[in-house]
Each structure stands twice: as C-alpha cells, then as structure tokens.
C-alpha cells in the first residue's frame, strides 16, 4: 500500500521541473564545495611542503658545510671544532657545527596529517594551521599564524561540503516538503486519497520516504563522488569509517528537517503559512542561534587580541635585552651544569641570546596560556550550548568526522609541545656543552611522527552531537505522530 504512494510521489517529484532544477543545484553546490574544500586543504599541504622543503634545504646546506669541513679536518689534521665567536667571520668551522645555530636558526615543521575526509569540513583549519614550526626558540611561534588570509574568507567561512549540508540542504528539504499535506488539501486531492483505505500517518510517512529517499540518495551519492573526486586516502579504513559517519550524520540532520516539515504541516495551516513558519525555523536554528552562541562565547570569554600578545612579547624582549647580563647570571644559576669552562661566558653571543629567549618565554608564556585557555573555554561553552541548535551539533559533528575539530588540533598541539621540548633540549644541551655537530649527527636529530587518536576517542567526542541530533529528530517525529489524529481533513 505504502509502496504505491511512494512510487507515485517519486514520479510526481521527478515530473516537477522545480524539483529537477533543485537536484541540479544541489549537485552543483556539492561539486563546487568539494572543489573549494579540497583547494583549501591542498593549499595547506602545499604550504607545509614548501616550508618543510625550505627548512630541509637550509639544514641540508649546513650539513653539506659540515661534511666539507669534516673532510678538510681529516685531510689537514687538527681538531673538529664548533663555530663560535672565537673564530673570525668567514673562517673556521661552519655554522652547521654549532648546535645552537642549527637549533635556533632552522625550524622543524610538524604537520598534522589531513584525514581522508578533511576537505568535507575544513573547520577552523584556516586559522588553526595544520603545520607549525618548532625550533629552539620559545613556544610563542607555535600559535602564531603568519599565513596571509583573505579577511572576507575568514568572516564568511569556507564553502565546503559541511556548509552545503548544514546551510543549504535544509532549504532544499523544506522546499520539497513545506506543503506536504497542505498542498494536497488545497488541491482537494487529500479527501480523495483519504476516502481510500489509507491512514493519514501512512500517507505522511510515504510522502516523506519518497522525498527523503530521493534527496538523500542524491546527496550521499554526490558525497561518495566527491570523496573519489578529491582523491582522498581511499585505501584506508579510517577514511571509509569517517565517510560512514558522515553519511549517518547527514542522514539524521536531513531527516530532522523533514520532521520539522511534518511538524508544521500537522497544524493544518495553509502552504504559505507553513512556508513562512519553516523559513523562520531555518533562520532561527541555522543562522541566529549559532551566531548568538558564538557571540555569547566571545563575550563571556574574550580572548586577548594578538596585538596585545605581540606588544607583551616586545616589552619582555626589551626588558630582557636591557639587563641580559643579570639574566645570564640567573640562567647559569638555574643551569649550573651548562656553565662553560674558561672565560668565554660573556663573549658568547648565542648563550646570551639563549638566555634572552628564555626570559621572553617566561614573560610571555602566561599570556599565551591564558589566550589558549580562553579559546578552550569558548570551545567548551559552544559544546555545552550545541544542543539548542541542530546546526551547531552538525558543525561540531562534521568537524570531528573530518578531523578538523578543535579537540584533534589540541591533541596535535600537545604532541607539538612535547616535541618542542625534545627538539629544544637536544640542541640546547649540545650547544651549551660546546659539542661540535658532525654530519652523522644530522641523522640523529629527534624525529616527529604524529600519533593519531584512537578512533574510539573520536567516536566518544562525536557521541553528544550525534545523540543530541537523534533526540531532536525523535522529538520532532513524536509530536506529529501524537497530534496527527486531530488533523482536519475536511473543513467544516
């Protein structure tokens, strides 16, 4: 019985020119979003590769210098020394022998690999850069994004598949279902249908199944095509697991909007009133509430501006430079093991610079920690308030699924900080101990490998958003299910 209505409704949909152009529009939007999302991921990868290549070539040149120097020492005899202020500029050992020079003047770029689904929801990746430089320098460089970004882009967000699903898909859903019952009632066919052995629930469910079936089949298929088109890591089970989650989230979110159409339709108003009510619901849930929540987060927990941070860093630097001798004493007081023999202490510019950097780091660190803490507080406020809007839940869910969530970035930064310590320590110790770096040492530099979070952790973080959407969906289904009995088929 239902099958008849479903196939009738499907045929009716495809006969409508408006629906056909809507499908073309969705296909176009998803194709463009896939292209645009992938472009921004590609740009990051290119940026990371360029930065890595640049730093690698600098270290490579330094290493080549040490190889020549080593050969020279071997040929001419003498001691393999490290470059320091004792040597005249242009003469003596190359800079590459000085661990302080290598550690401070070259950076190691650490990258967070993009997941196979990264281009589906690029999230905050335009400001949370997925590659960060690590050097012997204080941590302040880690959070600084020197990428030039079009400010308009930052304001509007990216046009990725998440945007299409969260913002545009509900409009398509509402466009084909806002007059689900009201149009039949206005056309007079509702009474004709219900004079047959069909219940209103059955009719409603069949009409929804037809529409949701066609739309979701189209969207999920387009998602699959997009996945193939962006050439993501298709051999990895992680990619497919994430794609499965993307399909589930999209399914639940789309069905929620169909349920909203049903909910509005059971009140028996005319099509125009239904359309206005649903447009208002979309505006409130997709535009107004997320904006208000974001406003609330930035008002309650305002993050210090980057300008303030920079100013504070400069002040600390000036202060440090003023009394670097005192700082140097203080530094050696803290690190007795590094006090060099002889009287080269004050001569050693790099040692001074080193102590300066530490001083600046000490002064600026609390500001950065506070900055990061404020961002985390904003994030957790959004997490808590997500349940009032399916759009926020969906955005958080899609970021999580695509591996562009704040939490995964935090996980990456944790590893970055740990590696920063390891990297800094490696060079600091060798530098302060006046250890001359040999070419073979270049292979022993600490290596970084990003450790991915267990999939279970991702699922656990995804759970609140997915469950929240499911609860909303069931609520939106239950209300019409219970009130449909009172629907007025015939007007008195």
């Amino acid at each position: 019985m239902k099958r008849i209505i479903i196939s009738h409704e499907t045929r009716q949909l495809f006969r409508s020119g408006a629906f056909r152009s809507l499908l073309v529009l969705i296909a176009g939007a998803i194709a463009f979003a896939a292209w645009s999302g992938q472009r921004s991921i590609d740009r990051q990868v290119e940026g990371a590769n360029a930065a890595i290549a640049f730093e690698d070539s600098r270290r490579g040149r330094m290493r080549a210098d040490t190889e020549r120097y080593e050969a020279q020492v071997l040929a001419e005899g003498g001691e393999y020394q490290f470059a320091s202020a004792r040597h005249a500029p242009g003469a003596g050992p190359p800079q590459g022998t000085n661990a302080g020079a290598v550690g401070a003047e070259t950076s190691k770029y650490l990258t967070m690999p993009a997941t196979g689904l990264a281009s589906f929801s690029i999230g905050q990746s335009d400001i949370q850069l997925n590659y960060v430089p690590v050097s012997m320098n204080p941590t302040m460089n880690i959070t600084r994004n020197n990428e030039l970004e079009n400010p308009v882009n930052l304001m509007t967000g990216a046009f990725d598949i998440a945007f299409v699903v969260i913002f545009l898909l509900p409009i398509f859903v509402l466009a084909i279902s806002y007059d689900l019952l009201s149009s039949e009632k206005e056309r007079g066919t509702l009474a004709m249908i219900l004079a047959h052995p069909i219940s209103l629930r059955e009719l409603m469910a069949s009409k929804i199944i037809a529409r949701a079936g066609v739309l979701l089949a189209g969207v999920l298929l387009l998602g699959l095509l997009a996945l193939f088109a962006v050439g993501a890591n298709l051999g990895s089970t992680d990619t497919w697991a994430r794609f499965g989650l993307w399909m589930s989230a999209t399914l639940v979110y789309t069905l929620f909007w169909f349920a909203m159409s049903v909910l509005v339709n059971v009140y028996g108003k005319n099509s125009a009133a239904n359309g206005i009510a649903l447009a208002g619901t979309w505006l409130a849930l997709v535009v107004v509430v997320p904006t208000l929540v974001s406003l609330l987060a930035t008002t309650i927990y305002p993050a210090p501006s980057r300008m303030e941070l920079t100013t504070a860093a400069r002040e600390a630097q000036t202060a440090a430079e003023k009394n670097y001798m005192a700082r140097l004493d203080e530094y050696y007081y803290d690190h007795l093991e590094f006090v060099p023999e002889g009287d080269e202490r004050a001569m050693d510019f790099l040692t001074v610079a080193m102590s300066n950097r530490n001083a600046i780091d000490k002064a600026v660190r609390p500001l950065y920690d506070e900055f990061q803490a404020q961002l985390n507080r904003q994030e957790s406020l959004v997490q808590r308030f997500q349940f009032i809007s399916p759009a926020i839940m969906m955005q958080l869910a899609l970021n999580e699924i695509s591996g562009t969530s704040a939490d995964r970035y935090e996980h990456f930064l944790g590893q970055v900080y740990a590696f920063h310590e390891e990297w800094g320590e490696y060079f600091t110790v060798r530098f302060l101990q006046r250890y001359p770096l040999k070419p073979a040492d270049y292979d022993q530099f600490p290596a970084f490998e990003y450790r991915e979070e267990p999939f279970g952790t991702v699922l656990m973080r995804l759970l609140p958003s997915l469950l929240g959407m499911l609860v909303l969906l069931f609520g939106a289904i239950l209300i019409p299910f219970l009130t449909l009995r009172r629907y007025q088929v015939a007007t008195s």
Partner: protein
Amino acid sequence: MLQATNLTKSYGDIEALKGLDMTVEGGDIYCLLGANGAGKTTTISLFLNFIEPDGGTASVCGLDVTREPLETKKLLAYIPEQVMLYGNLTALENLRYFAQLGGHDYSQEEYREFLHRVGLQSEAMDRRVKTYSKGMRQKVGVAIALAKQARALLLDEPTAGLDPKASNEFSELLLKLKADGAAILMATHDLFRAKETGTRIGIMREGRLVDELSTDEVSHADVEKIYLQHMHAGGHYAQEGAGSA
C-alpha cells in the same frame, strides 16, 4: 449498507447534526435535500471518518467507521462536488493510482474499459486531466468508484455546476451503479434529479432529518412543495441558514 444511528456532531457552539438516524440499503439512491448548513456534508464526512462524531455511530455494511476506518473505506467511494485529481497525470494514471490505493490492480485494458463505461472518449484518456472539464472529472470519479468495486457511494453535490446534458449522463451512471446493488447517498440541491434518479429523498433542516419520501409515491410538484413547506416551517431558518453557510 449505510447506517447512521443517533449521529451528532458539533463545531464549537454550532450543532451541525442533532441525532441523525438513517439507513441506505443496497440498490437505493438516497438523496439528501436541505439548505446549505443543514448537515448534509457533515453526514458524508462522518461516514468517511474525516471527522469524529460527538455521539452515535455511522456504519458501513455493519462496520463502525470510527473503529474500522480502513476496512470501511475499502467499501466506500467518495465523489465530492469537485473530483480533484492530479492535473499533471492522465485520466488513466489517476485512475490506476486511486484504484491501487483502494487495493485493486487491473490491466491497462481494464482501466480503459472503466473509463469507457463512464463515457469518457478514448482520446481523452491519455490527456493530462488539468485540461478536463468538470463533467469529465466527475466521470473519472465514477470510474474510480467502479474500479474500487465500492458497495456504498457517498456523493456531495456531484452535479452542481454541470450542464444539463452532463448532469443527465452522470445520473445515468448512478442508475447503473444502483442496478449493480450499490448503496448510494447523495447530497444535492437538484430537486428534479432527486425525484428523477433517487429512490428515496431525505429532507434535512438544522441538523435533523425532518422528512423521508419514496420517489415513486410523489410527483415532481409534490417534492418541491414538501421541501418548501419544511424550509418555511423553520421560519427563522432563512437568516440562520445564510449565516452558517
């Protein structure tokens, strides 16, 4: 076949039906007469379970329509004042859809045969019904009732606005259905057709059935006289009827 027992229905403060008792047997064409607002459409809507009665029962072939809404609808066919169809489908496609909704399925030839029996031209069957006149759509409505093999028909002013020829053709179709043993309940304003095609006439006023006549016992003139007598007996009715119409 169709039976109303002490059927009552109110819309807010307005009592639309006040304890209606009536029976329509198979082979009967029962014509409900009465001014607008007398309760004719309410009666039909109650038989279709489109609205719930406040009291009493409406039953089809012994089944209470509120308890067995889907079973009774298998037995019923409904032809409203305007048979509304899917304009972008052909008459054949519309007929097939509604027949399938009724739980039947036929071959393409059989569908054509149904449309042929109600007098629709062959070339019109494959045309989209948005080009149809009202008379043609009413014929499709009868074809749907035929395909559904309905035991009882509910008609709500089906001939209003039809030209005399189309109206006559429609009446002929009803007589065929009657000959097949269907119970037909028709709300109408057409006293002439009621006497001509109906077997019985019920006159309603203010939610009550005030008189019942057998058409073979009265003349055309009698029908009109009795009808008007009842309308005038209401006295105050003229104003009230206009108000609630």
